[in-house]
Structure formats: C-alpha cells, structure tokens
Amino acid sequence: MSIEALLTALLASTIISSVALTIASLGEAIGESAGLLNLGIEGMMLISGFVGFWAALESNNLWLGFLASIVCGAVAGLIFGGLVVLAQADQVIVGLAMTLAGGGLSGYLFREAYGSNQPLLQGDLGRPLRHLGGGIPVIGPAIIGQKWIVFVTWALVPLVWWLLRRTRFGLEIRAAGERPFAADVAGVDVTRVRLLAAVINGAFSGLAGAALALAELGFFRPGITVGTGFIAIAIAMVGRWDPLRIAIAALLFGLLRSAGTWMQITGVNIRPEFLQMLPYLGVIVAIVILARGTRLPAALGLSYRRGIDRT
C-alpha cells in the first residue's frame, strides 16, 4: 500500500468512526448543560439503533430507518426525563437502568426477529459530494467523498453551539443546569426546559445509534455500540460542553482508535489489544489536564423541586 492510500484510509476511518460518538456527545452536552447526567445513552443508542435497523430493513427505506431511530431515541429521552425530572428519581440509577434495559430489550428483540441470522442493509444513502473531490489526493476520497451522515454531523456542531449560546432556549438550558432555583425565580419553567433537554438528548442518542447501525456499519447486532454511549459522556466533559471542542475531542478519540488498525496494516508489531487501551487512557489524561480550572454545571445530577435551592 502506498503512503497516500494509507493516509487516506486512516483519515477516512477516523472520520466515519467518530460520527456516532460526536452526535452522542453533542446530545449529552445539551443534557448536562441542563443539569441532567444521562448514563443511559448507551442503552438509548442500542434500542434506537435496533429500531431504526428493523424499520429500514422492513420498509427497505433507510430514511425511514433514521426517522424511526430518532423518534425511538426521543421517546427514550422522554422516559428518562419523566423519571428524573417529573418523578425526581436519581439520575445515575435511572441512567444505569436505561443502559441495562435498552441493551437488554434491543438484544432480545433482535434475537426474536432474526434469531442467529445477521441480515445486512442493502446499499446506503450515498456520498453526496463525491464528484467534487475527484482529483484531490487524500482529502478528496477521505473527506469530501464521505457518506452524507458525516456532513450532517458536522452541520450539527455549529447548530448545537448556536442553540446553546445564541438562543433564549439555550440560555434557559444553561440556567436550569447552573442555578435552577434562580432560573425559576426569573420565570424559566425549569421542569419544561429540562424535559425538553432530555428529549433532545434522547433524539441525539437515537441519531447516533442510527449513524452507527445504518450509515457506518450497515447492520445491527446486540451490544454493537461497545461503549460509545459511555465514551460520549466523557467526551462531553473533555470538550467542556462546547460543541466545537467536543467534535475535536471525538475526532481525536476516533484517530487513536483507528490508529491501532492502521499500525497493524503498516506492519508495526504491536498486539491490537495493547493499542485498544490507548484511546481510553487518552481520555483520562485529557481530563486530568483539563480538570484544572473547569467545573461541572452546578446543578448537574440534582433534581429540582420548586422553591428549594440546592445548589
């Protein structure tokens, strides 16, 4: 393999393998900004990924699959929000429960529907800009020629930034995450804002599940997320709830993960299991470095009852 082909492969796999992670992290950043620590993303991604895969396979329409995933994720987010915001149950416990239940349900339904078969999705939604990058080396095939989900993901980055930093709703989200009591006094409906944030967080998890199963891989299998939902929580914190930083952190994580496979192709004699540790160690080191001078949203993990200031 030529250097150019290797670089192209590394870049392309870095980008596509960080897509689901980026989307999930953006969703988690919205939730955490509103004071909701959602440990259930992994389960939400799994159940949405399955539902989208099933819908796409049955209807033979990938768009419908994506839509089903997003709706399923939003419903999962609504359940999470209902339990932690309305019923005021503990966020960590409900999150872990959703990861267990979502993973379990998706695995159960998959085996009910397909047994031990592994159906594959036929075709994909294509690469919209492919013809533009025809003559450009590396960047042409690896970036411009990417699947459309890549561009959707990149479009979501400024969109989420705009939502959180430039809209009234974004301000309300951050107020609900920092000082819910003060926000309430100022006339913000904290319950409504947090519920909406939970639904958006869920819808992003759903899209992330679809990105993985429908766009990146083209199939679903129980446990297919292999921890992406949990890594998203870490990436949201590494990126300090800033969409651009999150996107960069997710790309770096994807690079570290792809680098392992890449080094193997180039014949470097290191066992793959050793390289697989690196991205996770990278996250820990990144947080150690970034931990100084940052703090979590003040009301993260706290439920809010009207009239009681707990921050």
Binding site: G107, Y280, A291
Partner: protein, 369 residues
C-alpha cells in the same frame, strides 16, 4: 423514646422490603407484557424457570451465581454509602481475576490448596484495589469525577488483561490464551453433589462484616457522613480525600475478590475475552437490597435467579438471555422511582430529628469535570 425508635426501624425495614418486592413485581409484569407481545407464554416461561429452581440442583446453581454477585455488590454498596459511584466493578473484577489466575498457576503443585487460595485471592485483592485506587487518587488529587474514570478504566482493563494473557503472560504450553488451569483438587471445595463452594462462606462473612462496619465502627459512620453530607464532613475536619481513596481501595479489593472467586471455583483459569460484567447487576442488587449490607443476601438470590434464568431459558423456553438484562434494568428503574416516595416517607416519619435536605448525588457536585 426507645420504643418508638425501635418501631420506626421496624417499619422502615418493612417498607423497604415492600418497595423491593414491588420493584420485582413491576419488572416481571412489564417483562411478561413484552413476552406476550413477542408471542411467548410468559407464565409458561416463568413457570419453567421456577420448576428448575425448586429442585436442589437448580437452586444450588442460583447460589453459585449469587456468590460473585454478592461480592461485587458489597464493593458497590461500600462506595455508594460513601456517595461514590464506583462504576468500575467490571474492570476491577477482570484485573483481580487475572492476578488470581496467574498467581494460582505459579504456586499450584508447590503449596497445599488452602494456601493457594489465600495467596492467589490475596493477589487479586491487591491488584484490584490498586486498580480502583487509581480512580480514587484521581478524584482526591484532581477532583476528577469517578464515574468517568471508572468507566474508562473498565475499557482499559478489558484490553489490558486481554493483551497480557495473549502476550506477555501467555502460557506457551496451552493452545488457547489463558492462565494455567487450576487442577480440581486445588479449587475451593464444593458442597455435596452441587457446585456450591466455599466462596459462599466468604461472601456471607463479608456481608456480615459490612453490616458491623456500618452499625458499630467509627469508619462506617465517617463514610455515611461523607456520603450524605460532604460539606458537613469537611467542616467536621474529616480527612475526606483520604477516606475517598480508602473507600475505592476497599471497594476494588472486594470486586477483586469476586473475580478471584470465579477463578478459584467454577472457572479455574482466566481466559482472554472473558468478561462476566457483574457491575450493572451489582448496582441493581445494591438498590434492591435497599443499600443495607444484610439485604445483599436475599437480593443476591434474586439476581442469581435472573442470571440462572439467562443461562437456561434460551433452552427451555426459547427466550433470549438479553431478556434478563431488561428485567434487571426494569427492577433498577422501578427502585429509583419508588425510592423517591420512600425517601419522602422516611423524612416525614423522622420529622422529630430533621435531616437536612440531601443532595441526590453529592459526589457529582463535589468534583470538577
């Protein structure tokens, strides 16, 4: 005064028991609904499971599965009581199990069996405690949230143990990547014809030990203060950071014991890619036990029952094992929701001695990033 105090404790325990039973019933009801929708006969499936368990062989298999879960739950419970979310049980079990397997392989044949158990379980405890200690130090030294670090360390542990057992620690005389198989006579003795083993006694002793710790010992009280009101703990000049590290060390040690239990009893070797994932079940277990050490015993039987169901129902009723993950999740979610009402009831009944409004997740609040 004393009378009413005793009565209060009895009612609290009764309510806790009712809440746990309600959570199990809710979970099984929703589970039954899902079975019906997907074309199964839930009563037949549940009946098949109960039939199996009502025989000695079936029941003993439930106990076998309950033992490591009880040990892992002890690890979770100790941390939860101190307001620390140790989500890294899985990783701590893995590094502990590997250390145990390696140590047992080194000393097997040279020492009597009881010494082999102690030495290799000791190795598991030390290594797993050190592994969990990383997250403890990062929390105490840098204020890093242990939820994130312990989850990340799980993935590191999975790859690390897999790499070690395939590479540097590989036994070249064996075909598959694993530690040397511990011969049957050197493993924990079993009871009668069943697979129930000495680990049961260890697990029970640890549960009783935890109960005594929280009831009688100063250390137990300090942990409760950190867990319930970290600000007060700092004001009371408790060495909060040292205690956090200590909690993580002990929690990790207990998780390591769960790993050692499997290696020294049912498995006999550490194989790469083996990952029992006790962590999530342990969380469901601890909250089912109402965060009470002695509650771990009945709750472990429930979770052991689910684990056994996941192993046999695919064969007897054609229900995928994932169904039992769903049940665990439903139990945990039900407990979280019903727990809110329960906590309000407790506060109201304890109105004579008012407790300050407690943050739901003090550990999250105390950390940066």
């Amino acid at each position: 005064m004393m009378l009413s105090g005793t009565r209060g404790r009895v009612t609290e325990a009764t309510v806790g028991l009712l809440v746990s039973i309600a959570a199990i019933v809710i979970a099984f009801a929703i589970g039954a609904l899902i079975l019906v929708i997907s074309g199964h006969h839930p009563l037949a499936a549940y009946q098949a499971l109960i039939d199996r368990v009502s025989h000695l062989t079936g029941f003993s298999e439930v106990i076998v599965r309950a033992i490591p879960l009880a040990l892992a739950a002890s690890a979770v419970l100790l941390a939860v009581r101190a307001g620390i979310w140790n989500i890294g049980i899985d990783g701590q079990v893995l590094v502990g199990a590997l250390a145990c397997g390696v140590m047992a392989g080194k000393v097997a044949g040279h020492v009597p069996a009881p010494l082999l158990w102690i030495v290799s379980a000791g190795a598991a405890v030390i290594v797993a405690a050190a592994w969990a200690g990383i997250a403890g130090v990062l929390r105490a030294r840098f204020g890093m949230n242990e939820i994130i670090t312990t989850i990340m360390l799980n993935y590191v542990a999975l790859s690390l143990t897999s790499w070690l057992v395939k590479g540097p620690l590989r036994d070249p005389t064996l075909v598959s990547p694993q530690t040397p198989l511990i011969p049957r006579p050197d493993r924990l003795p079993t009871w009668g014809t069943t697979r129930v083993h000495l680990g049961l006694v260890v697990a029970l002793l640890i549960v009783i030990g935890l109960s005594v710790l929280f009831r009688r010992a100063r250390f137990g009280l300090e942990l409760r203060v950190i867990g319930e009101n970290p600000r007060a703990a700092r004001h009371a000049m408790l060495p909060v950071n040292r205690l956090i590290v200590l909690v993580m060390l002990i929690s990790g040690a207990l998780a390591g014991l769960a790993g050692a239990n499997d290696i020294l009893s049912t498995k006999g070797t550490f194989q790469s890619e083996w990952n029992p994932q006790y962590g999530f079940a342990a969380f469901a277990l601890v909250f089912l036990a109402q965060r009470k050490p002695l509650g771990i015993v009945p709750a472990a039987l429930v979770l052991g029952f689910l684990a056994y169901g996941a192993d046999i129902l695919p064969r007897v009723a054609n229900v995928a094992p994932d169904f039992f993950d769903l049940l665990e999740g439903l139990i945990l979610a039900s407990l979280a929701v019903v727990g809110v009402a329960q906590m309000r009831w407790q506060r109201r009944s304890a109105a004579t001695a008012p407790t300050p409004a407690q943050p739901a997740a003090p550990s999250v609040r105390e950390t940066v990033v």
